[in-house]
Amino acid sequence: MTGLQLLLNVAALASAYALVAIGFVLILNATGAVNFSHGDLVMVGGFAAVSLGAWLKLPGIVLLPILMLGMAALGVAVAVCAYFPLRKRPPESVFISTIAVGIILQNAANLIYGAESRAAPPLLGTGKLRILNSSISQQGLAIILVAAGLILALYLVFTRTQTGRRLRATAQDREVAAAIGIRVDAMVAATFAVATALAGAAGLLLANVFFVTPTDGANYILKAYIAVTIGGWGSIPGAVLGALLIAAFEVIYPSIPLLLPGALGGADAWFSQTVSSIAMDIVILVILVLRPQGLFGEASRQRP
């Protein structure tokens, strides 16, 4: 494996994780609550891509807009079932209600698709391109471009449009936003729609390379949660950076024996997938304990 391939793998995984983490942060900022079903929404996106692909026989890039529209509607449904009835309660209530939503989604997927893993169609094709003497997977490159396009579109909506400003105002402070005449509930519902559409897009992107099974949600929610925590709670650029760090760790750590053949003298067992997961969990714990405000966040000061 060349350095370029490795870099591309990191970037592709990071792009998909970033979409998940951004959706997680958007809901966190708009509601002050963790949406624990967010990982299951990624899983639903993956299965939706599988079904759409089987039905329409079209490449992923064409399915993507249809899928994101459907996922946006699902996001509004999640908000209506699990957030709006609880908006006046402490944020843990939403944490638990979205755990329930996750259980529902996971078991619904299990009933419909069974426990076996499925693959979604690729964005364009599955071939390899040759760049600078390295063979690069088309899908990996397409993931990066699509995710970058979505993030750019999101950035433009948030900074250049009136709706985007209203969404940001709602995320800053719901009470003040309501006081200046913004329809906060509509904005929160819109945030759920956007965040869930992004989760669905990530599901489509990931389900081609990594397949999708009904129990995938727990893994993705943990990744998003961790990315947002190490990036700084509530920060969107932080979430992207956090996703990049996680992806880099996940791709590079198990590849160390491949990158340095023979240099490790039989210590290859220390670079298995499981050990890699344990190592990352421990690193995250250390970060949580030493810098609870995240790697890049500033220590927040609160008034008692």
Partner: protein, 606 residues
């Protein structure tokens, strides 16, 4: 409230006995086994209520602790032939030890960080159990675990096992009830309502949270040991997400606080799949829907909802308030006949910055025993920051705070409160659902809260009775005695303020710091409050209860007609610096003070 809770518990107990009789009489071996498993989850949930309910922390590690207990018991049994009865202690201690180790770095984290940290710890344990094949059997786990054995006697499956499990549930429930029914339970309630306030009335909240976390791990370890000897196998499944979600679900459906809720919730959650067998594969879907509906419709859980209904149908007669009893004199009281001669609080060179802002800049002031000092200054001048540094909520960057002759710089908030500095905050925080009397009484006992004390408490706790009688006296001194048995959440604003001041006095302080006590009061209430504060500061002057000793007051206030007649001396802060001090009249006339409030031109006008 207590009468109704007892009635509800009696109803639940009768229903439980009826169900058990039915199961023993007509149920198959399988039915009894399911009921045993429900008992195991009841123990798990009673433990979870300590950290999730009492301490109010969203821990996602309860399944991990149970799984750990199951592995310890299973490994001891299959590797070394140590039966259930002999390995109980180890299966409880290992999870408690893990809880203790992770508590040191993790327990102070805020809500969502704490939830994530506990989730990650669970992941690590799960990965280790899967990977460490020689000991844990890897992904397949350990089979062939022997059944329950106690004192060399094999406990047969069926009713003997059921009796053992539910006997342990009864013991576990009794211990949990004993721990939480008295002052310690009120301490937990105060901590949930407002942690900073809880510390400011002398409650060591870190200690309470650690206690709750260790107890939850202990119950989970016992549940794990019972589980592995009932199911006879242990695999990484027990460490997975679903067990954790089950304990959370039981606590949400049954109720976070009432112990009856843990039992009811466990029976419901474990038995439901049996009752809804006809749903087959859709059951798990229905399970998610039920959890969602429970969160939305029953915020206090089934037991809380039932209590609320009972309260509507059977209004309880109001109980009689306890008699008054005057507080004993302060332990640390200076023995000088002329109290005003003694410097009680001495602040020197105190500085604190926030980023680039100097909130306090080389502040020095002192306060004599029994003196009333008014602290004024424009908004943002550092008044509240000064109180926060004195009470240990913020650490100073430089400077010293000495109190009653000893340095208290850098001490914890609860230690400072116990040393004799009590305070109020700008926003009132009382435990809304607890009555006023206990809101005050808890401050009397804050320093004495502990597991050993709670376990040793007799059925009628003399310490609680004493604390309530003394609280009654304080409420009378603040003119709030008539509200003693009302829930604090039902009080008008002015009364809440006075209850909060009564609570500070329950600490038997030498010094009380009041942060804008008159804010939001009308003129009659202000005059009344000023009169009562004067009586607290100088009880000798003809007011009833002359045995009380004068308490020094440091009062932050913007309201000059309220403050000026009350204060012996005034200090004015601006931009974190002392710009004037002296008699109220001197300070109010001081050109720098006028400039700080009104601007330079006003100050220089003739």
């Amino acid at each position: 409230m207590t009468g109704r809770a007892n009635l509800l518990n009696a109803i639940l107990l009768a229903a439980g006995i009826a169900y058990f009789t039915y199961a023993l009489g007509f149920g198959s071996g399988y039915t009894l086994r399911v009921l045993s498993v429900a008992g195991i989850y009841a123990l798990l949930a009673i433990g979870y209520q300590f950290i999730f309910g009492q301490a109010g922390a969203l821990a996602l590690s309860q399944g991990t602790f149970m799984g750990l207990g199951a592995y310890v018991s299973g490994i001891l049994d299959t590797h070394w032939n140590i039966p259930f009865g002999a390995s109980i202690a180890a299966s409880i201690l290992v999870p408690v030890l893990l809880a203790f180790l992770v508590a040191i770095p993790v327990l102070h984290l805020k809500t969502h960080y704490f939830a994530l940290a506990t989730l990650i710890i669970g992941q690590i344990v799960l990965l280790v159990a899967t990977e460490w094949e020689s000991v844990t059997g890897g992904a397949n786990g350990i089979g062939g675990v022997s059944g329950l054995v106690m004192f060399g006697q094999a406990i047969r499956p069926g009713w003997p096992s059921l009796a053992l499990v539910w006997g342990l549930v009864a013991i576990g429930a009794a211990i949990a009830w004993q721990i939480t029914r008295g002052l310690l339970g009120s301490g937990f309630a105060m901590m949930r309502a407002n942690e900073v306030t809880a510390r400011a009335i002398g409650i060591d909240t870190d200690r309470l949270r650690l206690m709750a976390f260790l107890l939850s791990a202990a119950y989970a370890g016992l549940a794990g040991a019972l589980y592995v000897h009932t199911i006879r196998v242990v695999s990484p499944d027990v460490l997975g997400f679903p067990v954790m979600v089950t304990s959370l679900t039981i606590a949400v459906i049954g109720g976070r606080l009432p112990i009856a809720g843990a039992l009811l919730g466990a029976v419901l959650v474990i038995e439901l799949p049996e009752w809804f067998r006809f749903l087959r594969d859709y059951y798990l879907l229905a399970y998610g829907v039920i959890l969602l509906l429970a969160v939305i419709l029953m915020p206090e859980g089934a037991v809380g909802a039932a209590q609320r209904l009972l309260a509507r149908w059977l209004p309880a007669p109001p109980p009689a308030p306890p008699p008054r009893r005057a507080l004993p004199a302060q332990a640390a009281a200076p023995a000088s006949p002329n109290l005003l001669d003694i410097t009680l609080l001495e602040i020197t060179g105190l500085s604190r910055r926030f980023g680039g802002v100097r909130a306090l800049d080389d502040v020095a002031l002192s306060l004599a025993s029994g003196e009333v000092l008014g602290l004024i200054g424009p908004n943002g001048s550092g008044k509240t920051t000064l109180l926060n540094v004195v009470t240990g909520i913020y650490r100073p960057d430089a400077g010293q705070v000495r109190f009653a002759g000893a340095s208290i710089t850098g001490q914890t908030t609860h230690a400072i409160a116990r040393a004799g500095i009590a305070r109020t905050f700008q926003t009132v925080s009382l435990v809304e659902e607890m009555d006023v009397l206990d809101n005050v009484a808890i401050a009397r006992a804050g320093g004495a809260l502990g597991l050993r004390a709670a376990l040793a408490t007799k059925p009628r706790d003399p310490a609680l009775r004493l604390a309530r009688e003394e609280a009654m006296d304080l409420l009378a001194r603040l003119g709030a005695a008539e509200y003693a048995l009302h829930p604090a959440g039902s009080l008008p604003y002015g009364v809440r303020r006075r209850v909060e001041i009564a609570r500070t006095l329950a600490l038997r302080p030498l010094l009380v710091l009041l942060d804008e006590p008159a804010a939001g009061l009308n003129e009659t209430e202000q005059a009344d409050l000023a009169e009562r504060l004067r009586a607290i500061a100088r009880p000798g002057r003809g007011h009833q209860g002359g045995a009380h000793q004068g308490v020094a007051l440091l009062v932050i206030e913007h309201n000059m007609p309220f403050l000026a007649p009350l204060a012996d001396r005034m200090v004015c802060l601006d931009h974190g610096r002392v710009i004037a001090s002296g008699t109220p009249a001197e300070v109010q006339r001081h050109p720098l003070v006028i400039e700080a409030y009104l601007g330079r031109q006003a100050a220089s006008a003739p």
